[in-house]
């Protein structure tokens, strides 16, 4: 994790934020809050600190409390630091029917963490999530923007290995490209 990184968007990200704000009618700029929080979470190491939330409030010219209210409501926003790879395993019916318990238990054992915990090297965090619209390719996990589907314990092993070698922070947002 970068230390003492200034909580401020790069100029590219700020330009995208401006473009997002322009998608909503005059005076309705608050609509841009959730999309801009995604930008912030991507830019600020995968989670939203109070400083990050306050910064977003200043970008949108709204009160910090309006940002806190929203961040704490939505499950994709992390209010605590997470590992580079946040493993979000679906545990709802269709995934459970096809073995999500085995996947979760395998990760727990292999990485020696419980749900909600992060490995000591800061590489992985395990999280259980509810249906991600991948029920036909169950069991599955999401890591950043990637869906890993039709999982088996063997596939999982090689996936975790690859992630370790790559050693990169996974993000939901892969590119800053927006339509006109």
């Amino acid at each position: 994790m970068a230390e003492n990184k200034a909580i401020e968007f790069s100029s590219d990200t700020l330009a995208v934020a401006k473009k997002i704000i322009a998608r909503y009618p005059e005076g309705k700029h608050k609509s841009a809050l959730i999309p801009i929080l995604h930008l912030a979470q991507t830019e600020f190491d995968g989670w939203l600190s109070v400083e990050a939330m306050d910064y977003v409030a200043s970008v949108l010219n709204i009160k910090p409390i309006e940002v806190y209210e929203v961040v704490t409501f939505y499950s994709m926003f992390n209010t605590k630091p997470v590992g580079k790879c946040l493993l979000e395993v679906c545990q709802t019916s269709s995934c459970w029917l096809r073995g999500s318990d085995e996947i979760i238990n395998h990760i727990k054992k292999k990485l020696n963490i419980e749900v909600g915990e992060t490995t000591a090297d800061g590489m992985f965090t395990l999280k259980t999530v509810e249906c991600l619209g991948s029920c036909g390719t169950a069991p599955m996990l999401q890591c950043g923007g990637d869906f890993h589907e039709n999982l088996t314990t063997e596939k999982l092993d090689s996936l975790l290995e690859k992630m370790k070698i790559k050693n990169e922070r996974s993000t939901y947002l892969k590119s800053l490209n927006l339509s006109s």
């Binding site: 019916s93 509810e130 036909g136 923007g145």
Partner: protein, 440 residues
């Protein structure tokens, strides 16, 4: 093989791109509507088609459109509901990922009908990569003159934007979606006023599901009457079914409404039968919220008639012996399935997703989850079953939005049809019989 209206070109290489989509006849509905029809004519065709909302409730789309307040002088909005979070449902993702332009085309034609000049596609945050596919498709549509000012040289202008959410099932409920789109927590609004009068930014708004909007494309192309010839009775047209669970071929299938359930489950064209050569135990036919049915009742109605994939046939028998088509999230369970544990996954889901505004929903879902957990750990009592039934009864109908009902129905139905399994689990309190259940 059944008629395909939405997925006809799914296997065409490059169909994701504007160029190929257009070559295959794409955007014809926009040309036809904008150049030869008045906005109200489009609504009329949709009415004639008999199309019913594909998001779950099945409300007639043309009628919904005709409620939009066109006299207020305020801007009107069309918002596409791409929040798709109902467990067992993944058809909208499939459609948007593979044929993004059919949604863009439907949005243009539908926005024209409603007189909307700005429209949004609200997509769940977890589908970020799909949002990026849509952004690209929208870019292509702008570049080719199908979006922006004076589309195809007409007086009609439309801006279309993708808006991502951030993980909250409740934002699929249309008023919660609008709150979320305004940059707030996704707390459903009290109705009335309905969105048709005061929706996004208090302006007249229509919220429609992805598949509903995509269906407008073939409706305008074929004409409403022609579309209505497909299907049975008031269940017209085709429907995307998301099939998952213990079947040989999970996936998204476009069916003509009216297909027998038995054929859907067992034929090679669709699910290909129950996996591992096991027997069918139960089905949740329309997403997690609808009542579960045991094998006997999903294949035939209580009257002994073959059950069909239609709104009416699936609902035949009411909640005593029937269910609902819902979102078309078709979850199949084989003979080894522990119904109580399956219910636990649903109940945990609703507890997690309750927005917390109404006490019956907030407290009730938590209680039901706790009791089911207790039962599954071998620490329950037989009286817990009646407590569950009561809790469900007390939630139903007593909340601001239908999430409360959606949480209550699966509990009531599982106990109605599989009470014995609940009793067996309640009686298995001895250490030896203790169940291995994962509750991470």
């Amino acid at each position: 093989m059944g008629k395909k209206l939405l997925l006809e070109h799914i296997n065409e290489p490059g169909i994701q791109s504007f160029e190929v989509y257009r070559k295959k006849g794409g955007y014809a509905s926009v040309e036809k509507a904008l150049k030869t029809m008045k906005p109200d004519d489009v609504t009329e065709e949709v009415k004639r088609s008999g199309l019913r909302g594909r998001g779950g409730a099945g409300f007639p789309t043309g009628m919904k459109w005709s409620f939009i307040d066109k006299k207020s002088g305020k801007p009107r909005y069309l918002v596409c509901n791409a929040d798709e979070s109902e467990p067992g449902t993944f058809k909208d993702r499939y459609l948007m990922e593979h044929i993004p332009h059919i949604l863009i085309e439907g949005m243009i034609t539908s926005s024209y009908a409603l007189g909307a000049n700005t429209s949004y596609i609200y997509i769940r945050g977890e589908y970020m990569y799909v949002a990026q596919i849509l952004e690209r498709a929208i870019d292509e549509a702008y570049a080719n003159g199908f979006l922006g000012d004076h589309i195809l040289g007409t007086d009609y202008s439309l801006n279309l934007y993708v808006h991502v959410g951030a993980g909250a099932y409740i934002c699929g409920e249309e008023t919660a979606l609008l709150e979320s789109l305004e940059g707030k927590r996704g707390n459903p609004r009290l109705k009335p006023p309905f969105p048709a009068v005061a929706g996004l930014y208090s302006c007249p708004t229509v919220v429609n599901n992805v598949e509903t909007i995509a269906a407008v494309v073939p409706i305008v192309n074929l004409g409403g009457d022609e579309y209505a010839k497909i299907g049975v009775g008031r269940s017209t047209g085709t429907k995307l079914i998301s099939a998952s669970g213990h079947i040989n071929k999970p996936g998204v299938y476009e069916i003509e409404l009216g297909l027998p359930v038995e054929e859907f489950i067992f034929s090679e064209e669709y699910c290909g039968g129950v996996w591992k050569e096991r027997r069918l135990k139960a089905v949740v036919a329309g997403g997690s919220s609808v009542p579960i049915l045991p094998a006997g009742l999903i294949l035939t109605t209580a009257k002994g008639e073959p059950r069909l994939m239609t709104y009416e046939s699936l609902a035949d028998g009411g909640f005593v012996t029937g269910t609902m088509l819902g979102s078309g999230g078709f979850i199949v369970m084989d003979e080894t399935t522990n119904i109580v544990q399956n219910l636990f996954t649903f109940t945990r889901f609703y507890r997690h997703e309750s927005c917390g505004q109404c006490s019956p929903c907030r407290e009730g879902t938590a209680w039901m989850e706790k009791i089911l957990h207790r039962l599954l750990q071998g620490k329950g009592k037989k009286t817990d079953i009646d407590i569950l039934v009561n809790a469900a009864k007390n939630i139903e109908g007593n909340t601001i939005c239908p999430l409360g009902d959606a949480a209550a129905w699966p509990v009531a139905a599982a106990i109605r049809h599989f009470r014995k399994e609940f009793e067996e689990i309640a009686e298995s309190t001895t250490e030896g019989k203790k169940l291995e259940i994962a509750t991470h």
